[in-house]
């Protein structure tokens, strides 16, 4: 295939997004060195517990980080057949970082300059090239505007359908595509008159109406009923097949991730700890397995466990304190696979993301030979 096909659509490299806790006078390292790739026509699932930096990664890609210091480093290369650029191009000029022993101690940022430059970079991409759907779909629709009008607005903004009538037809078409029942009747309804699942369908219709190359789905099924969840997943599965859209799927639900993803990235404490094809990462019996992924998979209730009425396995300890990040591996305090040989290394040095098998990367001292 041509070079364009082999080049990933989205390549996040060493992304760092920090926040500042004024009361503690210290940085919250929400995303600390995330590297990810989303290929053409590929779905990449990002999984991890709350606070692992999944959503912040997505928001950073969209340029939606409002609080300071925000995105302070890294690059996000985006390359569709229409647009090729680094979404953080030149933004480092507005940021001055002082480090001490490799740790960021001081950030000076020209907020308005950064914001303007970021807006310029993102203005022709947001909604048009990269669309996003959120968790809590009901709150993501303007309660004062009918859903039809909201989709029409998106259509007129991003496609060649400029006349009101044409755009309405197009909006109706998308409502049909997302399998809304009786779309013509729902067209003039307000979001308050719809269920959460229907609102999510509207959100998906809105996102897809501009025919974007990349869809970022930030916890698309959270907050919905279990039956609605599986229907939304089915819909996303079908749309993926029909339109061939690339998706960055963010969820804490391994079930959702495993049904939709081609590749999976497991995040912990603001960094990717394991990254590879969905089969190899989510296979509970695989020989090579990051301890965190293993613990995550073990804590999912399986049919067998429910049958045996066995206790669910939990991961001991709390989510990583992203303010006082310990020097060693971020997971070592909760890790149950630390061996005496590597204990010291785990506590003092942060492991690199290395390739343990072709296309399978891991951040763990156990697999460093």
């Amino acid at each position: 295939m041509s070079a364009a096909m082999t080049q990933p659509l989205l390549k996040i490299d060493n992304l760092r997004t920090y926040f500042y806790a004024r009361s503690k006078q210290s940085f919250v390292r929400a995303v600390d060195g995330v590297s990810l790739e989303v290929g053409q026509r590929e779905t990449v699932g990002v999984v991890g517990e709350s606070g692992s930096g999944k959503s912040i990664t997505a928001m950073s890609v969209m340029g939606l980080i409002g609080a300071g210091p925000g995105v302070i480093g890294g690059s996000i290369h985006y390359a569709s057949h229409r647009v090729k650029k680094n979404l953080l191009e030149g933004l480092e000029n507005f940021i001055d970082i002082e480090t001490e022993n490799g740790r960021v101690m001081k950030v000076r940022k020209n907020e308005s300059g950064w914001q303007h430059a970021s807006e310029r970079l993102m203005s022709d991409l947001r909604g048009k090239e990269i669309a996003m759907i959120f968790q809590n779909p009901r709150a993501s629709l303007n309660p004062y505007i009918t859903v039809g009008e909201q989709i029409t607005e998106a259509v007129r903004l991003h496609t060649a359908c400029k006349s009101a009538k044409e755009a309405r037809e197009r909006a109706l078409y998308w409502l049909e595509q997302v399998k809304m029942d009786s779309p013509r009747l729902r067209f003039n309804a307000y979001p308050s008159a719809m269920s959460g699942g229907m609102c999510q369908r509207v959100m998906i219709a809105m996102a897809l109406s501009s025919e974007p190359s990349l869809l970022i789905a930030d916890e698309p099924t959270t907050g919905l009923d279990a039956t609605i969840q599986s229907k939304i997943i089915e819909l996303l599965e079908e749309l993926k097949q029909d339109t061939g859209i690339s998706t960055l799927l963010i969820s804490h639900d391994i079930g959702v991730i495993s049904r939709l993803s081609d590749r999976v990235a497991v995040m912990y404490g603001g960094a990717v700890v394991e990254y590879g094809s969905a089969q190899s990462v989510l296979d509970i019996n695989a020989a090579i397995k990051h301890p965190y992924t293993a613990a995550l998979l073990a804590s999912v209730p399986s049919e067998q466990k429910i049958h045996e009425k066995a206790n669910l396995q939990t991961i001991e300890g709390d989510v990583l304190d992203t303010i006082n990040v310990p020097p060693g591996c971020r997971f070592h305090a909760r890790c149950n696979q630390v061996t005496p040989e590597i204990r010291e290394k785990c506590a003092s040095h942060h492991p690199e993301l290395i390739e343990v098998a072709p296309g399978h990367q891991m951040r763990c001292w156990r697999f460093v030979s």
Binding site: M62, L64, E111, S112, S123, L125, R126, G127, K128, A131, M132, F134, N136, R138, A139, S140, L141, N142, P143, Y144, I145, E153, A154, L157, H158, S182, R184, L185, R186, F187, N188, A189, Y190, P191, S192, A193, M203, M206, S210
Partner: protein, 300 residues
Amino acid sequence: MQNVKTYSQTNIEVGQFSQLPLRQKYAIADLLYVAYGLLIVALVLVSYILGMFDLLPHDPQQIHMDMLLAPPASNGYLLGTDFMGRDILSRLIMGIQAYFLPGLLAISIALTGGVVLGILAGYCDRKTETMITYFTNLVDSFPRLVLILLVIAAFKPDIYYIMVVMGITGVPAVATAIANKIRYLAHKNFIEAAVALGLRTRVIIFKHILWYNCRALLIIQATLGMGEAILLETSLSYLGFGVQEPMPSWGNMVQSGANYFLQGNFWPSTAPALAILFTILGFNLLGDGLNNILEDRRGR
């Protein structure tokens, strides 16, 4: 009596809300409020036009020494005459002249100033916000009446000066309300979703926030402002600083008529007092009803 409620099925399909008859869409009370309010607004408008073209039953300035304090419905004077024998009905109609344009001026100053400052305070950085907050607090900290008396002392008791001051003192309330609304909405998911959709900030502010989320608030401020303008003029008339004789206004009519009230000649002050009562009631009910109707359809 038992609390029995009836629920009947109307044969309309989902989503056909816009085609429903008005009566089924909104509460009867709200429709009545709005109808009454619109009636008052229409009356005010008609009176304004009549006054402007001098289409009055009598000359409002004409003094009839032989007809002092004539009771209502005497000799062609429908509402009687006042202490100088001037026709009260004509003066009532003419009185609208004193409020209409000045009131609109006050409302438009309060709304435009409030909207501009509110958007700046709600959307710009902290420094701008602090400056605007200081300004609005400063304006708010002066008692309105004192400020007006100062302006009257410095210039002259002109209704336009008074209304400009009223407009400026009305700015903080609108600005704070808009800024709060913007700040409250800016963290709402649907605004974030609109940003992610690629909508320009301008469109988000004016269409999604101001038009769809603040229009009820602005309408209420406008209708309340008109009522307030009339009330303010009335209270200033009592101090003798309102519209000056011989130019009629409802305020100075009540004031001058009050001297004869206890002598049994109630009509010179009662007629303008009732006019004030029903007009202000009309404006307030209009605002209330419109608010309920516009807010009714939003989600909770």
